[in-house]
């Protein structure tokens, strides 16, 4: 009995997954590379178009987050019998719903409900309607 509890205690103390020096150094070097690339691209004036620059930033950010998760937070499917990974996936689902849902709803609200400046301004200045009126 005492044997099994001792074993359990040892297990409890070692429950936090931990890495090796090699892992930390590898993670750090990868993180530095993935930080220098987006900063370098933006500080040198971008990679041609807005879209390409944004994609470079996005890809580097996601890659670096994964690097941090694997090498610094020691995430793996085995840690905590997979429960930490399941909670991460659950969080990511909520995160995607919250962020993309907010942006989508607010974009549509802007597009459909806000009095649009482009429509109102010419009418107030009287350019378009006046021209149309003189035509008719």
């Amino acid at each position: 009995m005492s044997n099994s509890t001792d074993h359990h205690d040892d297990h409890a103390a070692a429950q936090f997954p931990h890495g090796t020096k090699r892992e930390y150094v590898t993670g750090f070097i990868l993180a530095v590379i993935l930080t220098v690339i987006p900063f370098g691209v933006v500080m040198s004036g971008g990679a041609g178009s807005f879209r390409i620059t944004a994609i470079i930033i996005l890809v580097c950010a996601v890659a670096q987050m994964i690097v941090h998760m694997v090498y610094f937070l020691h995430m793996s499917p085995k840690a905590e019998n997979g429960w930490s990974l399941i909670s991460l996936v659950f969080t990511l689902i909520l995160l995607i719903i919250a962020v993309s849902g907010t942006i989508w709803v607010m974009y549509n609200m802007d597009a459909n409900m806000m009095p649009s400046m482009e429509d109102e301004m010419p009418a107030m200045q009287g350019d378009m309607p006046m021209g149309q009126m003189s035509d008719s």
Binding site: T5, H8, D9, A12, A13, Q15, F16, H18, G19, T20, K21, Y24, V25, G27, F28, A31, V32, T35, P38, F39, V42, M43, G46, F50, T53, A54, I57, L58, C60, A61, Q64, M65, H68, M69, F72, L73, A79, E80, W83, S84, S87, L88, F90, T91, L94, L95, A98, V99, T102, I103, M106
Partner: protein, 208 residues
């Protein structure tokens, strides 16, 4: 009443143990702390979503290109990134049972963390001094809330780190202290992950 429910005395099926088995102290800490971090992650997700909606509402005020100083942000990022690996070295020293090493690396980590905070506070005071405070536009409100919340977390991490240094000095690398240090390590690296989102989406995207 309950004895009537058990109709057959020979039926020895047990649906639940009569008593909870003994769990060693802290056996559920890793998963519990991880779930806390995930809930914190959702707070930041909401703040990022808010920034995504309000980030281009300048209200006639200055935009990211007028305000942000990228070399300063790069320096800031370097501070936090270096503090991440020095914390890793503290954890490696802990696994070797090297108390002096743990205290040394925690001290170095605290210095880099404090440098990060100092640079951020300098940036904030500079912005407010320019009249670009959180009340200037919706963009700046969202900016100060998101970056400020991250800075608040780093501040709490620094206080926690200081407490841990005192605890380890007094009681050594006990099982409880190792558990606390493991939690702080998760917290510290997690803040670095959030900062990747901040510098990518707030600073770099704003400067394109």
């Amino acid at each position: 009443m309950s004895s009537e429910i058990v109709t057959d005395p020979g039926d020895e099926r047990v649906y639940h143990p009569a008593e909870e088995p003994h769990h060693p102290e802290g056996h559920s800490t890793p998963l519990g702390f991880w779930v806390y971090l995930m809930s914190d992650c959702l707070i930041f997700a909401i703040l990022f979503a808010t920034f995504a909606v309000l980030g281009d509402r300048f209200g006639g005020g200055p935009g990211p290109k007028d305000l942000f100083d990228l070399p300063l942000v790069a320096l800031n990022t370097a501070m936090l990134l270096i503090s991440s690996i020095t914390f890793g070295f503290a954890m490696l020293a802990m696994h070797d049972g090297n108390q002096k090493g743990v205290l040394k690396w925690l001290g170095i980590t605290a210095c880099f963390g404090a440098a990060f905070l100092a640079i951020e506070l300098y940036e904030f005071s500079h912005l407010i001094g320019e009249g670009a405070g959180p009340g200037r536009s919706a963009f700046l409100s969202a900016f100060f809330t998101l970056v400020g919340t991250h800075g608040l977390h780093v501040t709490v991490g620094l206080i926690w780190l200081t407490v841990m240094v005192i605890q380890i000095r007094q009681r050594g690398l006990s099982t409880a202290n190792q558990r606390r240090l493991n939690c702080l390590s998760l917290f510290w690296h997690f803040l670095d992950v959030i900062w990747i989102g901040v510098f990518s989406f707030v600073y770099l995207m704003g400067m394109i």
